[in-house]
């Protein structure tokens, strides 16, 4: 088989690097949104003071290499694997787990993964990562790591709506999910929303949507409109930063869509706290 050879050990190193970065350096788009909220648009002084703490926290984390949040999450890993790439000296799943393990050890991150959901023994390595591989054209590998904390993961939800449901029904479900999360999962939130597909595809899209910078709207105008309407609706809840009220319950809404079945309209909401962390690398 011809193609470009990439060593498993290089994948491991790359994953370790972006894991360390994601956990200690807040995404630029998220930091910019928090700063904007703090400096300009938040009129209530209570939540504004809390936003200042969050901006300060990001600065301290970057400087000291302390994790932004103690819940350094479970690593969701998205791989775009060029079809002309050949991985040598190992397999890609093991390489990714080895990279995650290395980063969580070297970064002094919390190991929050249990091997069995019922027996609950900690694996001690923060692995396995949850890995999604998409085959793409070309001879490159692009890897994105999203350490996902479970305070906000626990507030996520999926609904199998009727095909005759209206955009308003979608908005109501998404805003209702934020209302249920209330002040518990570290607002202001970012919502990753999947619409369409099968049930598992819809949930996958909701998570993947969180990778997109929050200042970039969906390219389809009717979806971008929905993003905006959900954001407005959620902010009308006035939960606000740390539940202290004010204008910032949600600082970003990203929707990804997929074709779906004539009988259904799946909608999944993956809630992220303000500590939305991810980093990417191309090998």
């Amino acid at each position: 088989m011809s193609g470009r050879t990439v060593k498993a050990s290089d994948i491991e190193k790359a994953v370790a690097k972006i894991c360390l970065e994601a956990n200690t350096v807040l995404r630029e788009d998220v930091l910019a949104a928090l700063e904007e909220a703090y400096r300009g648009s938040e009129k209530e002084s209570g939540p504004a003071a809390m936003l200042e703490v969050l901006v300060e926290n990001a600065k301290i984390a970057k400087k000291t290499k302390l994790p932004i949040c103690q819940d350094t999450g479970m690593a969701a890993v998205f791989v775009e694997l060029g079809r002309d790439v050949v991985v040598s000296d190992g397999n890609i799943f093991q390489a990714i787990d080895a990279g995650v393990e290395k980063a969580y050890k070297e970064g002094f991150f919390r190991k929050s993964v249990v091997a069995d959901p019922i027996l609950r023994d900690n694996t001690g390595t923060n692995t396995p990562a949850m890995v999604h591989i998409d085959p793409v054209e070309g001879d490159k590998i692009t890897i994105s790591v999203m350490p996902k904390g479970f305070g906000s993961e626990n507030k996520s939800a999926i609904a199998m709506l009727n095909p005759t449901s209206t955009p308003k029904d979608i908005i109501d479900f998404c805003v209702g999910t934020v209302k249920k999360a209330g002040p518990d999962a570290c607002p202001p939130y970012v919502l990753g929303i999947g619409i369409g597909g099968t049930m598992e595809m819809c949930a996958f899209l909701a998570k993947k949507a969180l990778l997109r910078p929050i200042d970039k709207a969906n390219a389809k105008s009717h979806i971008a409109k929905l993003e905006e309407e959900i954001k407005v609706g959620a902010n009308e809840l006035k939960i606000g930063t740390m539940g202290l009220g004010g204008d910032h319950t949600v600082i970003g809404v990203n929707i990804e869509t997929a074709p779906t079945h004539i009988a259904g309209l799946p909608v999944a909401v993956n809630i992220s706290c303000h500590a939305l962390r991810s980093a990417s690398i191309t090998i």
Binding site: E44, S45, G46, P47, A48, A49, M50, E52, V53, L54, E56, N57, A58, I60, A61, T64, L66, P67, I68, C69, Q70, D71, T72, F108, F109, R110, K111, S112, N122, G124, G149, G151, N154, K179, K180, G182, P183, D184, A185, C186, K238, I239, M242, G243, L244, G245, G246, C273, H274, A275
Partner: protein, 223 residues
């Protein structure tokens, strides 16, 4: 603001605001005046209150939902598994590995320390500890620090025990680590981040979310 008026506010609308001037982020800020309307529930936080932990009864009595407070002294971490174990030990009549009588429990599982007193150490979601909280209050726990809402049972139990529930800024673990001066494991070391740690804190910023009279800052945000 008096307790009575705060109670009234809790019964008013589903909108509320807080003047939050008290965190150490804004030292020396003057506090703003309250205003009220039928649709707002406003809690005023006067300038930062400094309180020692473990808490004294008169300090607890002085705290109102919405107050910004800086805590200094000793607190104990415990989260899901430590709560489960302590409750099992209470039920079995066993001696507890740490005396929580009069103490403040912090719902936190820090990251490992690396040449510092502690790693990142923000609060975890408090509601997961709700089923265990009445038992903790019965053995004398006087304060809790976490994030988010509590059940109505917990609100009632806090009131009955004349205790207090604080919230700390969630997702600001790096910021909060600078307020922790030491961290020693005192029980359940096998639980790693979920062990019980004794923390010495200085000016640890929190907000009173449930006061000893049962006023709940998040009352308007219940599902």
């Amino acid at each position: 603001m008096s307790r009575a008026s705060l109670g009234e506010y809790n019964d008013l609308g589903d909108r509320w605001f807080i003047e939050f001037m008290a965190l150490c982020a804004w030292p020396g800020t003057v506090h703003a005046l309250a205003w009220d309307s039928p649709l707002t529930r406003r809690v005023v936080m006067t300038n930062k209150k400094k309180i020692q932990v473990p808490l004294q009864a008169d300090d607890i009595a002085s705290l109102c939902a919405g107050d910004g407070v800086l805590l200094s002294g000793t607190i104990y971490t415990a989260r899901d598994q430590a709560h489960l174990r302590i409750c099992e030990m209470i039920e079995a009549g066993e001696k507890l590995p740490v005396d929580l009588d009069g103490q403040v429990v912090y719902y936190c599982g820090p990251t490992p320390a690396n040449a510092r007193a502690i790693g990142s150490c923000g609060p975890t979601t408090s509601s997961r500890m709700d089923p265990f909280t009445p038992a903790f209050l019965e053995i004398g726990m006087k304060g809790m620090i976490g994030k988010g809402r509590r059940s109505t049972e917990v609100v009632a139990a806090v009131k009955k025990a004349k205790a207090v529930y604080f919230v700390a800024p969630g997702g600001a673990g790096a910021y909060l680590s600078e307020r922790v001066k030491s961290c020693e494991v005192v029980a359940f070391a096998d639980l790693g981040p979920e062990a019980i740690y004794e923390l010495v804190v200085e000016d640890f910023p929190v907000v009173v979310a449930i006061d000893s009279e049962g006023n709940d800052l998040y009352a308007g945000l219940q599902n």
